[in-house]
């Protein structure tokens, strides 16, 4: 298992952003769904070793990230796309991806080819030498994906990766993560249900800091039978599970 969380909690003051989450995830594409404020980003930040948990145990790539040496090793094999990734305007696409490849301590002689492969993989080859300040929002998001995959990570964490992408690019993105999921654990956090429907082998739904559903997309769809809210079967399943969790909390 590349991700093992046991009763993990993260609090900010009195707010419990992540509340007692336990998960075990192996290779493949894992979708993390939920409304805004559900705790997805906080969970992803803990998986990216940016935030420590307030309590509970985290094991990533069979290592304990609370130990400095293990955390460094995890980070070498990690790819992370934060929800709000800013860019250095004067850098070119290739320079930005190269900079983070170097910070990931990739061997220097491997960096040029890895950068070229990552930039081509997100179809930004024609803009490789363009300054980031000249790119659209969707292109910048693809630059973010490129830096996340440049080191061929074993654990890839993507927070709202399709923001700003047009429909064709989103289809291409789903193909990309399916390919990557054959060798690595890919966690896609999104509030867009359609992003996970076809690409993910397993889905978890978070609400109020807790995991309220875990299963396959088909199982989530089945939850929505008879439910009226939603434009697609998967959306109806999503809405049904959320509604049930809110009723449980209210009760």
């Amino acid at each position: 298992m590349n991700i093992e969380l046991t009763d993990v909690t993260r609090t900010f003051g009195r707010n419990k952003a992540v509340d007692g989450v336990s998960l075990a995830v192996g290779p493949g594409v894992f979708g993390l769904l939920g409304p805004n404020g559900a705790g997805k980003t906080s969970l992803l930040r803990m998986l990216a070793t940016v935030l420590p948990p307030s309590s509970g145990t985290v094991r990533l790539l069979d290592r304990d990230p609370s130990r400095p040496a293990a955390r460094t090793e995890i980070r070498r094999r990690l790819g992370y796309l934060p929800q709000n990734l800013g860019y250095y305007p004067s850098f070119t696409v290739a320079e930005f991806v190269e900079y983070f490849a170097l910070l990931k301590e990739m061997p220097a002689h491997q960096v040029p080819k890895a950068v070229a492969a990552a930039v081509e993989r997100v179809d930004l080859g024609p803009r490789a030498k363009a300054r980031l300040r000249t790119l659209s929002g969707g292109m910048l998001r693809r630059v973010g994906i490129a830096q996340a995959i440049v080191n061929g990570p074993d654990l890839l964490l993507l927070d709202e990766p399709t923001a700003g992408l047009d429909p064709e690019q989103r289809v291409a993105f789903r193909t990309l993560i399916r390919d990557l999921g054959q060798h690595a654990t890919v966690v896609v956090s999104t509030h867009l249900v359609e992003d996970v429907g076809t690409a993910c082998s397993e889905v978890a739904l978070m609400a109020e800091g807790k995991v309220v559903f875990r299963g396959t997309p088909d199982e989530l769809t089945a939850q929505g039978e008879g439910h009226q809210v939603g434009d697609s079967p998967l959306e109806r399943g999503y809405s049904a599970v959320l509604a049930a969790s809110r009723e449980q909390v209210a009760a």
Binding site: R77, G86, A114, G152
Partner: protein, 258 residues
Amino acid sequence: MNDPSLNEPIGGGSRSAANDDIDLDRVWVNVAAEVWRRHPGRLERTAARLLRSPGLARALFTTPSLLLPWLIASAVVLAVGALTQVGAGQPVVWLIAPAVAAVGIAYSYGPGLDPAWELSCSMPVSDRLVLLTRGVAVFAMNAVLGLIASAATLGTHASAGTAQLTFAWLLPMTAACAFALAVAVAVRSAMAGAGAGVGAWLTLVLAHSATDGAGGGLSAPALTSAITDANLYLPYLAVAACCAVIVLFATRPRRGLL
């Protein structure tokens, strides 16, 4: 580590070849790797060896290119330097000045203004080590500018103030930051490096005040003269030389690395 599926492009379409056993996309990636390759200059390559990290070297040399953080960090450093001259008789000013400057640099290149800060926090190269590196860059480049300004204003009304700022603040702080970075690189701990830098600063100040014949002890004149005394420039150089020896020994070339 290198995922073969990374060689397959998406969205743009594959290049067709008359022979299916030839991967033109892979050929193009290899061509692009050389065409897009950045060739670091000699200084950056040297820094990469000294810092044992091409990433830190890149961070060092790209420090001024992040324009807004660079302007704010430099403004803070120069403002603090000016305050130390205004507060020449106040020992507490000299003690807290480095801390204020460090906070300014940390804010500029940290969670305050660095647009990719959260991403940097997930990197194997410690974000604190990157901050320490950027601190050296800020002080060193402003020290160079200060030296140029001092030379340019020689004999003018502004000469004394410029020289004071450069030789009493920018250069000593560059030395202290360089020492901190040297220790941090040697032991791979930014906190140890920062502690060493602070310790070195205090040691310099207190050592000079202890040997001060006029008043002895920690006095305002002693502290002030500790910073502005030209006799201390040799110790500063000695500290810098020690840093260089430590770093060169710790980063001596080993077969197969760098």
